[in-house]
Symmetry: C2
Amino acid sequence: MLEGQSQKRTMASQLADSVRNDIVNGTLPPGTRLNLNALSKQYAAGVNPLREALSRLSATGFITAEDQRGFKVSEISRKELIDTQRVRTELECIALRLSIANGDINWESELIAAHHRMSRIQRTPMGERLSLDVNWETGHHDFHMALLSACESEWLMLFINTLFECSTRYRKAMLLFKNTLGRDVETEHKNLMDAALNKDADHACALLTAHFNETTELILSSMDKAKK
Amino acid sequence: MLEGQSQKRTMASQLADSVRNDIVNGTLPPGTRLNLNALSKQYAAGVNPLREALSRLSATGFITAEDQRGFKVSEISRKELIDTQRVRTELECIALRLSIANGDINWESELIAAHHRMSRIQRTPMGERLSLDVNWETGHHDFHMALLSACESEWLMLFINTLFECSTRYRKAMLLFKNTLGRDVETEHKNLMDAALNKDADHACALLTAHFNETTELILSSMDKAKK
DNA sequence: AATTGGTAAAATTTCAAAAAAATCGAAATA
DNA sequence: TATTTCGATTTTTTTGAAATTTTACCAATT
């Protein structure tokens, strides 16, 4: 039988995904001490696979490990958010220019497909907010990655992914969803895609930068309010 | 007693450093399958701390982990080298501009100090090549980081560090040492530092880019020869 | 000769408990 | 009252071995 590469995944590997998700979604809030016994029960897994998972996440910044003192969810701060968005803007603009330069018909098609998927979810009337949100988040992620996918740089994609998830965590921590304060995110995405498809790199980068800056401002002001 | 932060380190933590070093230095060549029992004897440690260490390294690219099939040292390729150097150039130039813009007297002093340390090692007559080389490598690393240290971006520094180590591995894999083919690396470094201290960001970035490109060309031609 | 199937060996992954270290609280000291 | 010291408890880390999965090998079949 054609097995493909669908081998059974490792416990540690699944745990890494689960914990990362729970951190990004805010189920495990910033600063939480990660008690190993408690967590391993929570996730119905052994302590050693759990340690492996946490070790992996500590290499990319979601978790802070301190020798002999275990693990904790990394703290959030205005400073880190600003740094994240600044570097993210730089990297995504570089990748976007490369992607527009290299992108072929297949890239264009995939981009349009990703945009369509995201749009359909946006248009769905808000029934079950939570589960809908999960779908929109993945659609949103996939759209942004599709935009850059022709850049042909493994490193850029790796770093950008890390920053994307970091950024998502901040947005979720501040309980911001797609449409906040009369902002028309759908149109922003549409314009961004059109600029990319027209191979207008300068315009696309400007739109992307503005897109990030708007989000950052919203999150920053939410953080200010929350602190009061 | 003033303890500082000199707590006892964890076995897994030390292992991660050792293995990373051995990968960068070529003691563990690209593609090596990492047999856990053998390795744990080699490093005189248990398998679980070892797995933790390898898991951490797999998040930054030195090690490739495949579920149920263990770990192996990541392969090297022309493609990855080119990508590494391209992204590294972009990131270091961004960081360098920020560093020059922000850098205060303390930054200047640290930079000069780091350069002096590296120079002194370079001037030492080649007696024990291997141990000397280790010193020069750390001096070289510290110099480049000192150059960027005022950029005030944790993310940039993290990514740049990863790329620096990746790049070092390629240079070492090709058995290239500091001075190859009549290249005057000392002068390159000196000029780079002077441009930075003069706050001439454009010139400094140009020198840095040239510095990287020269190295890349050398490594690439070595890889061609090795393949024959 | 090449491919399939099945078994033995080897390696990876996971578990459970021991060992080491940090934390907490109360008693003792200044 | 504030600080230190000591012991008990919790938590992290490591160990050694069981369970699971992959790999290697060899015979049988096409």
